[in-house]
Amino acid sequence: MKNRKILIIDDDQYIRLLLQYLLERSYDIEVRENGHEALLYLQEGNIPDMIISDLDMPVMTGNAFLDNIKQSSFFNSIPLIVLSAKENSLERIECLKKGADDYMMKPFNPEELKIRMSNIFQRMNLAR
């Protein structure tokens, strides 16, 4: 079976590396460093199976990216997990309201992230 493709968006190179180490054994990884680059990547005709996005990023923030993909019929059904250092509950609620499937705070437990990801995939399989 073909691996699922995960799009990782984070401006910090070590978080990108870490996520890559953690996930590359189970998934195909595509990495972009901000929301704008990620949107360009999607518009090129790529539809990943899941997106993991940071919030605070230069050029285009995770919030603006979320607004954008949730307004697109092409991308609004891609599950998205926000992974951010922002601890504020208002921020979390805002993202979830916009349609993020989950919100995890940095620092995060890698095992927990993996489980949350596979749970989302499992739910999608059941819904099908």
Binding site: Y14, R16, L18, V31, L39, Q71, A85
Partner: protein
């Protein structure tokens, strides 16, 4: 935002009201009932529209073929194509995207709800082909240099042979004093966040793990003087006479979120866990620890390739998961090792805070090289003979 010029292709007469085009800054420049007429208009007009809306049910040419045809001409490269549809399967969606349709709007919709998307697409079509290409971010994963690995194998093998009598003696002493295995394997996180079994000689009684809770509050790395004023009562709420941030309930206590986060931060400063005079340590264990003999089985980890002689200390899971943040994740990019920067930088020179150790780990990740590793080994030797009671 400047008003956008629109060409509408379709037979729906009431589309302006229906799609809410009257409430966004758009200017309808032309409306055609079918693709053929639209084609005629486009070939004659001097100024092309910013957006072409196309009813998927418009008569005449198939909209997808029509758009595919337009996309093949470079003069339409800067025009946004939007298909208005009653519904599409996901395969049709993917197909549309690949054919150069910028967006599909499913009826009923109001364009006002899609302005983030419209703005991005206008911007996207304004870019030239090169700027439109997304920059692939490639993370270069460091692999263990061959020289370092060879050095590790040679040094670890020689060391194991040389110290085997000491290890044998330690093992006999352990068996004489208390029941339990010789080796205590704990899960540690090494380079690239790889979790592996980390070997030490057992220095505690076999039931030590179950007794963890009785010593938890003895953590030496907890902030010594956690500010007393960090109570559940928030000064800024007090001043404002109303909650300064949302109320949360933690452990049955009601406090404002701001204060909760401050308290949490203060507690987390104790990322590293170390206890002075742990009552769970056996007598032999204490000797093994003071002489660092308990660490010797890690040479087996080195031989196995789990870690290196020099590198960042592999961390227990609960410590590692607190470093997966922008500020500290760098340490996982470096090799894990028995001895490293912080073991030599400050040993004997007083206590080091968790923060300082984390900084040194990041520094090692930035500066490590084979030569620097050799220097660290030389500097570790005197440190080996200093006893620190932890």
């Amino acid at each position: 935002m400047k008003s956008l010029s629109i060409l509408y292709i379709g037979t729906n007469i009431d589309f302006i009201n229906e799609y809410g085009l009257n409430i966004v800054p758009v200017k309808l420049i032309q409306c055609e009932t079918n693709a053929f007429l639209a084609g005629c208009y486009l070939s004659e007009t001097i100024k092309l529209p910013d957006i072409i809306f196309f009813e998927s049910k418009a008569t005449g040419v198939n909209p997808f073929h029509f758009i595919e045809h337009l996309r093949s001409e470079s003069k339409y490269d800067h025009v946004v194509f939007v298909v208005v549809s009653d519904g599409m399967t996901s395969v049709e969606m993917t197909d549309s995207l690949k054919k150069g349709i910028d967006e599909v709007l499913i009826k009923p919709f109001k364009l006002t709800n899609y302005m983030h998307r419209v703005r991005f697409l206008i911007h996207y079509r304004d870019l030239n082909k090169k700027e439109r290409k997304s920059l692939k971010t490639i993370s270069i994963t460091k692999s263990m240099p061959v020289l370092k690995r060879a050095f590790d194998i040679v040094v670890a093998s020689i060391a194991l042979v040389l110290i085997s009598p000491i290890m044998l003696m330690a093992m006999i002493a352990m068996k004489l004093e208390s029941k339990g295995p010789w080796i205590y394997a704990s899960k540690r996180v090494g380079s690239c966040y790889q979790v592996f079994d980390f070997y030490k000689f057992r220095s505690m009684f076999a039931d030590a793990e179950a007794r963890f809770s009785e010593v938890e509050n003895l953590n030496q790395y907890m902030i010594k003087n956690t500010p007393v004023e960090l109570s559940e009562i928030c000064p800024s709420c007090n001043y404002l006479k109303k909650p300064c941030s949302p109320k949360v309930y933690i452990d049955g206590k009601r406090m404002c979120e701001r204060q909760h986060l401050l308290l949490k931060k203060a507690k987390q400063s104790g990322t590293f866990f170390k206890i002075q005079d742990d009552p769970r340590i056996t007598r032999v264990g204490r000797v093994l620890r003071n002489t660092s003999i308990d660490e010797l089985p890690q040479l087996i980890n080195v031989l196995k390739g789990d870690m290196s002689i020099v590198g960042n200390r592999p961390l227990p899971l609960y410590e590692a998961e607190q470093l997966t943040s922008d500020a500290w994740a760098e340490r996982f990019d470096a090799p894990a090792g028995i001895t490293g920067l912080w073991q030599v930088e400050k040993r004997g020179g007083g206590e080091m805070s968790g923060e300082e150790r984390k900084k040194l780990d990041n520094k090692y990740a930035r500066t490590n090289s084979f030569f620097n590793d050799l220097k660290l080994i030389v500097r570790t030797i005197p440190a080996l003979f200093q006893s620190e009671n932890v």
